[in-house]
Amino acid sequence: MATRAEGDVVTARGVRRVFGDTVVLDSVDLTIARGEIVALLGGSGSGKSTLLRVLASLDPDATGDWRAAGRLAVVFQEHRLLPWKRVADNVALGVTGPDVRRRTAAALAEVGLAGRERAWPAELSGGQAQRVAVARALVREPELLLLDEPFGALDALTRLKMQALFGRLRAEHGFAALLVTHDVDEALLLADRTLVLEGGRIVDDAPVPLAHPRAPDDAGFGPLRRRLLDRLGVPVTT
């Protein structure tokens, strides 16, 4: 499903973002092919989220040229559900067209929350709320998913489950994604390509030539992991 059709869903050239005197993004070039999962890594404050926000049209002060696919959806680190809307209304927020209710129910079922339409966000656990946020993205049938450390705020076990869920959804829907993460294992488990952002530029761009499904104890995982950590400035000595 990785190559559903020709064309790129993201093309960005010379993206630049300055906060006061600090250059956060300094001429970033980025291309994401249709159906491709790209992990964006970098130390904290390296501008990963800033780049994602630029692509999501949430940053009016960035300069450069970029174009993102027509249908895109964003999942943030926090679930960002509206506390005053029930789960179904949160998922269906801004969705138009026929069958909204059926599509909402289908999206909820896909993330394992069938039948929770009437629940309030406050009644959900952190993992459930984040799954609703994923359903809210899915129901839009996105060509491009922008994920800003989507599993970063979850506990370790929930995070593993969510990563598996993401893998299944990706195989099913074939969306492209930009996955901002600080977790090297997560990047190698889910992505087709990893990018490292440093000093406002992309300093590393490497494919992940591993077959799905992947596990951290696969052969070939270790060397990739060591290499990435090394590029991130965390050399593994053992």
């Binding site: 895109l72 959806a73 509206l82 005053w84 801004g94 309030w120």
Partner: protein, 274 residues
């Protein structure tokens, strides 16, 4: 005190602190109010409290019943309610519009908020002399006073309610494709609603207060007029009836509003349930 004094000597008294901490019966809260009523009645009967200073509670009750039966109370009450309602409507509408403009737009904030912040410092009842010169002593005066009293709490809570909305939720709504109007409807309005309710409750309190003062000036009707007229004839029972009506009105409006709040903010109950 006895419960505290009992030393927890035996280790097998796990149920004991729970028993001693059991909630006292609700009727205990009625003891003091009823006690005050009894003392008041007795003091009136024995002449300790002279009738021309304070009528006994039984007399107040009888007067209240008489005024209610002959329709006097209803006429005055309706006039007062009308003033309160019109003033509330004008003041709240103005506060909502200006509060929204200041809360939503940076330009609006710069233009609207400073004068309002300055005007807030004047007690609006002190504007009475000026208001009498401007709008006279008729109905307009009462309604203007109420509207002024309502405006400030409503404005500040509208403003704060909008400002306190989590910017991240607005952002998420934008990524869901919601335009400005849809964001207002689905994010800003429900997000500010708890504040709006708080503002309304304070505003209604201010409305009654303004009315009490306004109705003491050149009026021919209203609960305040009833009281001022009774004062001239030393009818303390009627004055007290008026006071109780004001208190009852405040209590009732608060109850209605709290009920409306609870049904409008169901999602908050869900928050408390977990």
């Amino acid at each position: 005190m006895t419960a505290l004094a009992a030393p927890p000597t035996t280790p097998a008294t796990a149920a004991r602190p729970r028993r001693t901490r059991r909630r006292p019966p609700r009727w205990r809260r009625l003891v003091t109010p009823i006690g005050i009523l009894v003392v008041w009645q007795v003091a009136s009967r024995t002449g300790v409290l002279p009738e021309e200073k304070l009528s006994p509670p039984g007399e107040v009750l009888r007067t209240g019943w008489r005024l209610a039966k002959d329709g006097t109370l209803a006429t005055h009450l309706l006039d007062s309610l009308y003033r309160a309602a019109v003033g509330l409507l004008i003041g709240a509408a103005l506060a909502l519009v200006l509060g929204a403009v200041a809360g939503l737009l940076r330009l609006g904030d710069d233009l609207v908020d400073p004068p309002v912040q300055m005007a807030r410092m004047l007690p609006h009842l002190a504007l009475m002399p000026l208001l009498i010169i401007w709008v006279g002593i008729g109905e307009e005066l009462k309604i203007t006073l109420v509207a002024l009293g309502v405006f400030f709490p409503m404005y500040f809570n509208t403003y704060a309610g909008i400002r306190d909305i989590d910017e991240r939720l607005v952002e998420a709504a934008r990524t869901c494709g919601l335009g400005t109007l849809a964001r207002l409807r689905h994010v800003i309005l429900p997000g500010a609603l708890p504040s709006l309710f708080l503002g309304l409750r304070l505003a209604i309190g201010a409305a009654w207060l303004s009315l009490v003062v306004g109705e003491t000036v050149a009026t021919q009707s209203g609960i305040g007029f009833l009281m001022m007229e009774a004062r001239e004839f030393n009818q303390t029972d009627v004055v007290l009836v008026g006071l109780f009506v004001y208190a009852l009105l405040g209590l009732l409006s608060d109850l209605v509003l709290r009920f409306a709040e609870r049904s409008a903010l169901t999602w908050r109950r869900g928050l408390k349930a977990t």
